[in-house]
């Protein structure tokens, strides 16, 4: 296998890992916002 394969597999996986972490953070942030909305709804009901 050529050296380019090893270089791009390394850079590619790094990009995937960072993209995965950012996507995961966005999912967690959306979930946190949903929880705040639920708390607000509960407060409004009381």
């Amino acid at each position: 296998m050529s050296h380019e394969f090893y270089v791009w597999m390394s850079y590619g996986m790094t990009a995937v890992a960072i993209a995965f972490e950012i996507a995961w953070l966005r999912v967690q942030r959306a979930r946190a916002r949903r929880h705040i909305e639920e708390e607000r709804d509960l407060e409004a009901q009381d």
């Binding site: 090893y6 270089v7 597999m9 390394s10 996986m13 953070l25 708390e39």
Partner: protein, 238 residues
């Protein structure tokens, strides 16, 4: 300046929100510069050829994996000593990013090792201790989330982080203490044997990863603050 002012979660939440775009912007700019220097400007290595270009992400990722663990353990120690909420939240927020950099370090090391050593993996002291670091991060994350009461999880995970600190000097000095396949450090405080453009590319990528780690940690700690304090008035009024 009263630094305790910023240890209050509502104050820190706003400060972190202000800092996040700057850190990610800095990380992107430094990464662009680092990739340009590393992939375009730096010369081909006389012995390794093009495959040496993996070091522009492998070395910074390995440095970050150890540095983030150290910072995480310091926050863990602070949360155990002073019983501060924010320090425990910061320790939790650092762990996934530290694990990600450890994984990147191992992965890129494997893809550098195959053409250089002839194997993706060897049970070398440096590689094995770095793998232990990944398991320590996983253990920290699992332990922190294993309790229904978050503060108990914080304390248990902080203890694990402090015990795991012993692994950091093992990783760093493994190439000196044992006869390893992994090469010794090319960069130290005493100097370097690298070409200046190679060193520049590596340092730019290191600062980029550093800025990214700060940004990702701040985003995550904001999420943790909001989740923990969602029943408080200030979170409901966000």
């Amino acid at each position: 300046m009263n630094w305790f002012y910023f240890s209050s979660p509502p104050t820190f939440y706003r400060l972190a929100g202000w800092l996040v775009p700057w850190t990610f912007g800095t990380a992107a700019l430094l990464a662009a510069a680092g990739l340009y220097v590393g992939l375009v400007q730096a010369p081909t290595d006389a012995q390794q050829g093009e495959v040496y270009r993996i070091i522009f992400i492998h070395v910074p990722a390995a440095w970050m994996s150890m540095f983030l663990y150290f910072v995480m353990a310091c926050y863990g120690a602070a949360s155990l000593t002073f019983n501060t909420r924010l320090a425990a939240m910061m320790a939790r927020a650092i762990a996934p990013t530290g694990a990600m950099f450890t994984f990147v370090s191992l992965w890129t090391g494997a893809f550098w090792g195959r053409p250089t050593w002839g194997a993706y993996w060897v049970w070398d002291a440096r590689l094995t201790s770095e793998l232990v670091l990944l398991f320590l991060y996983f253990g920290f994350i699992a332990l922190a989330n294993a309790f229904e009461e978050p503060r108990r999880g914080d304390r248990a995970a902080a203890l694990l982080a402090l015990i795991g600190l012993v692994n950091l000097p093992i990783i760093y000095f493994s190439v000196m203490w044992w006869n390893t396949l992994h090469q010794g450090s090319s960069v130290s405080f005493k100097g370097t044997s690298m070409h200046i453009s190679m060193l520049t590319g590596m340092l730019l990528m290191t600062f980029s990863f550093w800025a990214y780690a700060i940004g990702a940690t701040l985003v995550r700690v904001r999420i943790i603050i909001v989740e923990r304090e969602r029943r408080t008035h200030w979170v409901r009024s966000l």
